[in-house]
Symmetry: C2
Subunit: 345 residues, 2 copies
């Protein structure tokens, strides 16, 4: 600690606390002589105003918080996350803000919110019980949610998950696939996809809509759904399960690229030719999607733009209230090499 406080400096300089405060915040109000004198003493003792005390009266901290649903070390492994941070970072630079990464505290998002001193929060993929939402709404600082089901009165940035999912499923159907395995991200809902919420819910709705147009639904036979851990291992397991079941699919559509890639690798290990023996579609367009061979057809989302817009909105909200917008950013099917029509039987 700069072991000294404003009183110490005032004492040593033989002036009042106010004078010391002015020296830092309003130099014009001091005579040049006392100003220099005070600054010299401060410099000598290594004094600078305590930022906590300062925030106390100013009501500002100079930081925004990003609430993440998992621990920092987990979330950072998500390849989209750094891109998202990049967008936020641009706004931070422009506005001179720091960025606090705030994981749940002892398992509770609510506790984390209540204990964190920032000028505003961005929430990422928040899927919490109502009580947390109440905290959000009556909170002392503005919020912008990202990737969650929008809350009334709270600005939200989302990407068109449903649209992207629709496009990708439509593409498979147009290629002629009718035996499709959906590898979902583990949700804690044991495959009861009708209960999916948030990002997951939107994606499944996108699939269902297009399936319905063909008179199809997730029936456990021609179209089935299986939950996997969102990792390469999870994808590999998912592949094993669907491939060794009755009624093999001709295409696998995964709700994350990492699952798709794990499944693809497992398929290739088994000697399958992709896409001739089995087609694959992912979601996210992470870097590896374009590096694996065959390159993975997937749905891309503007992660950086998402971060930028969310932070932009939050900054606006912080220094003036604007009305709550709900922004939807586009997603896009990126067609690469992992899909072809199914073999004729």
């Amino acid at each position: 600690m700069s072991k000294f406080n404003i009183k110490d400096i005032a004492l040593k300089a033989g002036v009042s606390k106010t004078a010391v405060s002015f020296a830092f915040n309003n130099p014009a109000r001091l005579s040049e002589k006392t100003l220099n004198h005070i600054l010299a003493i401060a410099e000598e003792l290594g004094y600078s105003p305590n930022p906590v005390a300062r925030s106390m009266t100013s009501g500002k901290t100079g930081a925004i918080g990003l609430l993440v649903p998992q621990s920092i070390d987990l979330i950072i492994r998500n390849p989209n996350f750094p891109e998202f941070l990049e967008g936020i970072g641009e706004v931070c630079t422009r506005s001179g803000l720091s960025l606090m990464l705030v994981p749940p505290l002892k398992g509770s998002m609510r506790r984390a919110i209540e204990n964190t001193a920032v000028d505003g929060f961005l929430t990422l993929g928040l899927e919490e019980e109502k009580s947390t939402m109440k905290v959000v709404q009556q909170c002392r600082v503005p919020f912008v949610t990202v990737d969650s089901d929008p809350i009334d009165g709270v600005p939200a940035i989302n990407v068109d998950n449903a649209g992207g999912a629709s496009q990708s499923m439509k593409y498979l159907l147009e290629m002629g696939h009718r035996h499709i395995a959906i590898l979902a991200i583990r949700s804690g809902k044991q495959g009861h996809y009708k209960e999916y919420v948030g990002t997951l819910g939107e994606r499944i709705q996108g699939y269902l809509k297009v399936l319905a147009e063909q008179g199809l639904t997730i029936n456990g036979h021609s179209v089935r759904l299986l939950e996997c851990v969102s990792s390469e291992e999870g994808g590999a397991e998912g592949f094993q399960t669907v491939w060794h079941s009755r009624n093999r699919p001709t295409a696998v559509i995964a709700m994350s690229d990492i699952i798709a890639i794990g499944a693809m690798k497992a398929a290739q290990d088994q000697g399958l030719h992709i896409p001739e023996d089995l087609s694959f579609v992912g979601f996210d367009d992470i870097m590896q999607a374009n590096l694996i061979r065959p390159a993975l057809t997937t749905v891309s989302q503007p992660s950086t733009e998402k971060g930028r817009q969310a932070a932009d909105l939050l900054v606006k909200l912080i220094d003036s209230s604007v009305e709550a917008e709900h922004i939807l950013l586009p997603t896009q099917l990126v067609i690469r090499e992992s899909v072809c029509p199914p073999r004729k039987k």
Copy 2:
């Protein structure tokens, strides 16, 4: 804002501020009846203690700061950075801390430090003038430096840049290369490599040491040094310059993988065969190094471990003072496919 403060709650509940405070911090000291009464009121009004005011007396914020030398959006593009964050994140999870990313404020690291309320700082690649160092030392909170020249009395985590650089240069020399271009990271020192400090300085020292063992030095002819922006474009430019000069090198050793990769791509665009026409070595072992073809021979460093150890040390420092250690983590040459002996003339 939870528009209410402790006084409001005390008033509504018909108790004193103390009672309200106890309800949150020391429930045992209240009768069950008043406790529940107070909590009910608090819940109803959506009250929770103001974290800033709380930090004021507790002296704790529940967060550590990571001082980064550039803006967040720039630093996040460094592929090693997320790995580094992962290590820090693990410690944050264990200790229930948030992580504040703190870029320079209006260009000044010092200002950023002085305005940030955290329980301790990690600094990454800090290469600042003395004045900042003084701030660091007399600061109100503990510091751990990472990737900078160690400061007396301040714990430091570094990787063995010199050792890694030596290994990689030695490898080139052993393969028979004597015409070598060093692509350095732009330093603001116009290629005056003797003035390099920090990571850059250590790496250049590593090169020089091994060169000296062969009676070589950076002489502008057989061994030359050129600064590039650390990006693919920068590497591409670097390649063009050295390739179209008199006395073409037989090997390029870059101080970052991203430079090496940019240079490699430019060389391949020009129709060169790597490594037969030109050998390449990088530094960092980013993911792309192992994906590009031919795979890049480079020096790997334990980024995650670096973050973990640094954060670990900081946390220890925060809740008890331990003596300042200077830890050096190993680096390792990863031999892949981008180097072969030079052609005989």
